[in-house]
């Protein structure tokens, strides 16, 4: 049943969303063409358009995915969705999966087109490409992660994907809670209020987690402010603040170090799980379609 839900969810959304991606790609190609043909002003114009579209399509993808969730779960289509012989939580999971795929695809398209456009500009010759690669390796060396660059890219990609899941979870949660019968009188304000409240609470919790959870990255700078080291440490930001307060006046001229707490990132999966579990329960037990 789950695969059928996913299949039909794609069918319903595949009419519009990929179309947006194609627009972005098209604009990118147009720009590359203008560069190749040396069309001057037109080139600048199409560059601006392409960059704008890259950002816009991510936002549009999110908006369409969110709109689809609301429409199929709480608007007229809900009469079809909620009478399907499936467990109500499967509705949530299938829509989350499909929403995630489209949103991730929008990021990938944006990055892809962005990189493609940049490449068209910067790498007109083989020499330029070589310079770029050398420069890239130098930066990696400076930060001290030259040999673990794959890990770094992996972490960046994972962070991006998790942030997508977090946003979607927050939104689906807000829509579902905001559509329960107690909130009917608020109309569309219900989901919006719930979202604002949830987002704020999560940010506060994140900040607290970053501050107090004993896990961080210690960065060390030398006297002239250059970054000379990064290291994972088991220490919280808060204790670092306490330490530095205790040792006032001993700021050495040989450099400084600080800790960026990363405990908040650990909490992300916990937040996501809590949001989705609660949304799932609300959908199963408190659905009240108007």
């Amino acid at each position: 049943m789950f695969s059928k839900l996913v299949k039909h969810e794609f069918r319903a959304t595949a009419r519009i969303i990929p179309f947006i991606f194609m627009v972005t790609v098209f604009l990118g190609l147009v720009h590359v063409l203008t560069v190749r043909l040396n069309l001057g002003v037109l080139s600048v114009f199409s560059l601006i358009l392409t960059v704008l579209m890259c950002f816009a399509q991510v936002i549009i993808a999110y908006a369409l995915v969110i709109w689809r969730y609301y429409k199929s779960m709480y608007s007229n289509e809900a009469y079809l969705t909620h009478t399907l012989p499936v467990h109500p939580s499967m509705l949530l999971w299938s829509k989350l999966l499909v929403g995630f795929v489209w949103t991730a695809a929008s990021y990938i398209t944006a990055i892809g087109v962005g990189f493609g456009v940049a490449a068209a500009h910067m790498f007109k010759t083989a020499g330029e490409w070589q310079n770029f690669v050398t420069g890239y390796h130098q930066i990696l060396k400076a930060i001290g992660i030259e040999h673990s660059q794959l890990l770094m890219w992996f972490v960046i990609a994972a962070a991006l994907l998790i942030s997508i899941v977090l946003v979607l979870s927050e939104v689906y949660f807000s829509i579902s809670i905001g559509s329960t019968s107690k909130m009917h009188s608020l109309g569309i304000g219900g989901p919006i209020l719930v979202f604002l409240g949830t987002d704020m609470s999560l940010r506060i919790l994140s900040a607290l987690a970053a501050l107090f959870i004993p896990l961080g990255v210690r960065f060390t700078t030398n006297a002239s402010g250059e970054l000379i080291g990064l290291k994972f440490v088991v220490q919280s930001m808060f204790s670092q603040v306490v330490d530095s307060l205790n040792s006032t006046g001993m700021a050495s001229s040989s450099g400084d170090s600080g800790i960026a707490g990363i405990g908040s990132y650990l909490l992300l999966p916990v937040f996501v799980a809590a949001l989705l579990y609660t949304a799932s329960r609300v959908i199963t037990r408190h659905t009240s379609i108007k």
Partner: protein, 233 residues
């Protein structure tokens, strides 16, 4: 087959269903009658599983409304619930995928009888055509419970007659059909029994022939009597 005990439902401060208790047997066509806002649609939504937020007991063949009951319940709401881009073939694909009891051949034939085009998107159909399509989808399923919410509102008399035909054809001895309507005089001849719902309360639940014998009145006349005071001028 359908057991309802002390059903209560509020929307905020509004009480929509108040302490409702009913026992409905299989093999019957039941009319659900009441003025606008009396809770008929809400009752059907609860039976269909669209509203899980209520107090009291509701059992269909011993099960609470959920995954199992939805597989054997065919619900026709007043609203158009299909996406505008869908064509009848798409809707058939959808139903065939999720409902094991959906008869695609029968659906296609019924569609032809109603003179609808299989490939015309719903957004290009008139309201009457959309209603007919939704009726086809509901009746092409061999379900145990049929819930029809005002299937004849806004349709011409010839189509009303066709809808009654289809409903009667669909009748089976192990299934139950609940028909909510206000067009009582047109329809009362097909009911076994009727439920009068007045502002969420059960006013009457009686076999139709017994009403005719006991009161010497038609259901339509009795309805007017019972609800005369609830219509404000």
């Amino acid at each position: 087959m359908i057991e309802i005990q002390n059903l209560n439902k509020n929307f905020g401060t509004n009480t929509v269903l108040s302490d409702l208790s009913l026992n409905l047997e299989a093999g019957r066509i039941i009319g659900l009658l009441g003025p606008n806002g009396s809770g008929k649609s809400t009752l059907l939504k609860i039976l269909a599983g669209l509203t899980s937020d209520y107090r009291g007991t509701v059992l269909l063949d011993g099960h609470r409304p959920g995954e199992d009951t939805k597989a054997v319940t065919s619900y026709l709401p007043e609203k158009t619930y299909l996406s505008g881009w869908m064509r009848p073939v798409d809707a058939f694909d959808y139903f065939a995928d999720f409902y094991a009891d959906f008869d695609r051949v029968k659906a296609a034939e019924m569609l032809k009888q109603f003179r609808l085009n299989e490939r015309q998107p719903i957004k290009n159909m008139s309201k009457g055509m959309q209603e007919k399509l939704q009726l086809v989808l509901v009746m092409a399923r061999k379900a145990k419970v049929y819930l029809l919410d005002e299937p004849m509102g806004g349709v011409d008399p010839a189509t009303r007659s066709a809808i009654l035909d289809v409903t009667l054809r669909q009748y089976q001895e192990d299934s139950i059909m609940i028909f909510a309507t206000h067009l009582i005089s047109d329809v009362e001849k097909i009911f076994d029994s009727v439920i009068f719902l007045g502002y969420g309360e059960l006013k009457l639940f009686e076999d139709v022939d017994r009403i005719r014998e006991k009161y010497g009145k038609s259901v339509d006349d009795l309805f007017r009597e019972v609800f005369a005071c609830s219509v404000s001028l």
